[in-house]
């Protein structure tokens, strides 16, 4: 499939899931269950096949620079100004970056769809579920394939909507709905930043380029990016920095980084495959994708990059620390996702864009696997609480093995995917030169500690759930059963990917081709990143690799030691550091703080304006009304006395004379004749006189 012919099939990739969603959504109930599954899975499979075709088409293009396929569907918005014009097209761009993302989204997405068939067995709202899932895939694909920032924003909010719908899928429990709303609002806060960044970017370029750049499409933006530099700084920061920070605010909202991560743990209220797809593999990575996509912007402001890196590292460490104390399996995985995302942002922050994407891909594999594994565990044990599980190794061998593969991957044990990608990031961080001197080294240290913690809590999770004896009570024990093939199938495939995934991005020291790095090269062509690889000696790289493996091993040993060898120890430790444990267990009370700092004041303000509106303005209006009433009453009284008096007097006079004249009309004809003659005579006199 050569690129030119593929051009006109490109739009099918997002369109197929959309069609699937539309059909299931509208006709869902009437179609049989099998049809619903067929449509849902079929559409995603179709997209996957096309993505692969697209990937091959790209690879077939010889020169890396030319590897991009753009297909413009139609003109979305056109507003012709006096000189320039604001024109946005609905256009899809397939270049190495979006092709990789497409593969991840549709690939992992397809496995999760298959898994959902089994998982959602017996749930009445399945048509609606699959419709939402397809709609999500559509939005994600639009986000990834969009050729301009505004269309990406459509996808950006579209995934936000789908996560809202899917988190609150079982809406009969109020807190699921509340979790959904929380997710959407948090995303919306991020989108506020994103939109402000978008506007500032548009206007600075539009004005400075003499109304030439009016379409926000990446090609044009990349070309006109340097113009940003000479725009005069606002509030002391250079324009690119502000734009990048604003966009990064959007990213933190979407990818659950430090300030706006609170919605992700609550998002676990949704069905587990949803968490796997949205809150592990695809949606949360949108922020990373956006920064990599706009790397030419970020490179213009080192300050922004350092901020991204620092936030990433801090989030990694912070989330990992919380994950240690969580007892709900999905919560643990949620915090682990946040921490892994932190690593991606760290990688991107140190301009190792390729490494960030590489970690994104590997993370998609093993995190999806972990979530799906957790899903089958929950499916079997009918509880999320790991304290009620234990010893499931015997009952669910398939889930156990796949879970172990993912565990090794995420912990960063060499042959598995996690090791290569995380190590790549740590290596790049170590010798990155950011805004502040030595910041790279410090962040590397934080990252290393995070890696250790990750290994620790993952070990804790694995041991508590799979080893030891079952603590879930007799009745639950009988029901323990391995999940059906439709669920274990995807687990196995993802396990293979997690194992093999690492080899697509081998570090330079092994002199093997860094496939993914090379592939992404043209998109992220940049001065830092890959170049810095060469200058440092292989020894340093190997050394760092050894250190990170050591950290992982330490974490595993500590976890094994505490939870397997001396199971009573964690209890004792918990007693000793009671309050510390309480603080960490309750997520540093961040949720409560946010509630008090943001949510309650907003409601208070709104109630205040509501009362103000009713009270003051309405009061003013009503006061006006009452005042006029009183004035009119006053006038009325005065009017009653004087004017009325006069009027009544006139009325009485009229009545009096009326009465008398009435008596004149006796009805006797002759009296009338009298008046006739009298009238005649009076007239005659008048004539006589004048």
């Amino acid at each position: 499939m050569d690129p030119t012919t593929f051009k006109d099939y490109l739009f099918l990739i997002p369109l197929l899931p959309f069609a699937g969603a539309a059909i299931n959504g509208i006709l869902g109930r009437r179609l049989g269950l099998r049809a619903v599954h067929l449509i849902a899975l079929g559409s995603v499979l179709g997209s996957f096949v096309l993505s692969v075709a697209g990937f091959l088409a790209l690879v077939s293009i010889k020169s890396p620079e030319a590897r991009r396929v753009v297909s413009v569907l139609y003109q979305w918005i056109l507003i012709a100004g006096q000189t320039g014009s604001f024109h946005i097209n609905v256009a899809f761009l397939l270049d190495p970056l979006s092709s990789v993302m497409c593969l991840v989204v549709t690939g992992v997405g397809f496995f999760i769809h298959v898994y959902s068939v089994g998982y959602m067995h017996g749930d009445p709202g399945r048509a609606r579920y699959f419709a939402y899932l397809n709609l999500f895939t559509f939005s994600m694909l639009v986000l990834v394939l969009a050729d301009n920032l505004l269309l990406m924003f459509v996808g950006w909010e579209g995934v936000g909507l789908c996560s809202y719908l899917l988190i609150g899928f079982w809406f009969s429990e109020l807190d699921n709905a509340r979790a959904g709303m929380k997710a959407f609002i948090a995303n919306r806060v991020g989108d506020f930043g994103f939109f402000v960044g978008l506007m500032l970017l548009f206007w600075t370029l539009y004005v400075s380029s003499g109304q030439a750049v009016g379409s926000l499409s990446y090609g044009e933006l990349k070309g006109a990016a340097p113009l940003l530099l000479d725009a005069e700084p606002i509030l002391g920061l250079s324009v690119p920095t502000i734009i990048c920070l604003a966009l990064f605010m959007g990213a933190t909202g979407k990818s659950a980084q430090i300030p706006l991560y609170v919605w992700l743990p609550d998002a676990m209220a949704g069905p587990t495959p949803v968490s796997a797809l949205i809150h592990a593999a695809t949606m949360v990575t949108a922020g990373v994708f956006m920064i990599v996509r706009l790397n030419f912007l970020y490179l213009l402001s080192p300050v922004a990059l350092s901020v991204v890196a620092t936030v990433g590292a801090l989030t990694a460490l912070y989330a990992a620390s919380i994950a240690i104390t969580q007892n709900d399996i999905k919560k643990v995985l949620a915090y682990s996702t946040i921490s892994q995302l932190g690593y991606m942002f760290l990688g991107v922050g140190v301009s190792a864009f390729a490494a960030g994407i590489f970690h994104l891909v590997t993370h998609a594999f093993f995190k999806a696997l972990l979530f799906l594994g957790a899903g089958s565990l929950i499916h079997a044990a009918h509880t999320n609480d790991i304290r009620k599980m234990g010893g499931l190794r015997a009952h669910m061998p398939a889930t156990f093995f796949t879970f172990m593969v993912a565990f090794l991957a995420i912990a960063g044990i060499p042959p598995f995917a996690g090791f290569f990608s995380k190590d790549e990031i740590l290596f790049s961080t170590f010798n990155a030169h950011l805004a502040a001197p030595g910041l790279g080294k410090l962040l590397w240290l934080v990252g290393l500690m995070g890696a250790g913690l990750t290994a620790f809590y993952m070990t804790r999770l694995v041991i508590v759930t799979f080893f030891g004896e079952f603590r879930g009570g007799e009745s639950a024990e009988e029901k323990l059963h391995e999940s059906p093939r439709t669920m274990t199938g995807p687990l196995v495939i993802l396990a293979v990917l997690s194992a093999v995934g690492g080899f697509i991005g081998l570090p330079a020291v092994t002199h093997l081709p860094n496939l993914i790095g090379g592939f992404l090269e043209p998109v992220v062509a940049l001065k830092g990143g890959a170049a810095s690889h060469g200058s440092h000696s292989a020894a340093l790289e190997l050394g760092l690799m050894a250190v990170s493996v050591a950290a992982a091993a330490a974490g595993i040993y500590l976890g094994w030691y505490l939870y397997h060898k001396r199971p009573e120890l964690p209890g004792a430790l918990r007693e000793r550091f009671k309050n510390l444990h309480a603080v960490v267990y309750n997520k540093y009370y961040v949720d409560e703080a946010y509630d008090r700092l943001f949510v309650r004041p907003v409601i208070a303000i709104s109630r205040g304006t509501g009362r103000f509106d009713l009270g003051v303005i309405d009061w003013v209006v009503n006061a006006l009304a009452r005042a006029t009433e009183r004035i009119s009453a006053g006038i009325g009284w005065e009017d009653l006395k004087v004017v009325d008096g006069l009027v009544n007097a006139i009325a009485d006079a009229v009545k009096y004379w009326g009465y008398h004249t009435r008596r004149l009309t006796t009805g006797k004809v002759n009296h009338y004749l009298y008046s006739v003659v009298l009238g005649l005579f009076v007239l005659y006199l008048l004539v006589l006189i004048t």
């Binding site: 009298y674 009298l678 005659y684 006589l688």
Partner: protein, 166 residues
């Protein structure tokens, strides 16, 4: 000789008219009306209005007077007991008519009528009246005819309605 005729006719018109005004018996009044009309006809002739004099006699006396007498006769039955036909408010009526007469005479004698110094001989006026009627005053002539027709229909209708009502 003319003065004598004039005085005779004046007396013939005025005296019976007093009778009409004052007599208590309605039938006497009706008949005295005959003399008044006759007197007026005479005055017309004296004034050279020969056609009018004849007309007066023809229409008034033989037409209208007869009708009045019919009217009197038909409504007479019930009045046999001779209630006074005069209204209590007579005095006011008298005062008023005298007042009007006074005002009238003031007008007559004060204004300087553009009288002719000498009176032309009276000429027969019938042909001229005829010309005028069909010339200048054609429209009033036609309207008068329509009026008369309307009156005929009206009178018949009123009488028939009252008859049917009983």
């Amino acid at each position: 000789m003319k003065n004598f005729a004039f005085n005779v006719f004046v007396i013939i018109t005025l005296i019976p008219s007093f009778w009409v005004a004052l007599s208590s018996n309605i039938v006497h009044a009706a008949f005295s009306l005959f003399f008044t009309f006759f007197g007026v006809a005479g005055l017309y002739v004296l004034l050279g209005a020969d056609f009018l004099g004849v007309l007066q006699v023809l229409v008034y006396i033989s037409g209208i007077l007869v009708l009045i007498i019919f009217g009197v006769m038909m409504t007479q039955r019930a009045q046999m007991e001779h209630i006074s036909t005069r209204l209590p408010g007579r005095f006011a009526g008298a005062v008023l008519s005298v007042l009007v007469f006074g005002g009238f005479m003031v007008a007559v004698y004060k204004t300087a009528w553009p009288k002719l110094t000498e009176l032309p001989e009276p000429v027969p006026t019938t042909s001229e009246i005829g010309n005028l009627l069909l010339g200048k005053y054609l429209i009033p002539f036609e309207v008068a005819s329509v009026l008369l027709l309307a009156v005929l229909v009206g009178a018949a209708l009123i009488v028939r309605q009252s008859v049917r009502k009983e």
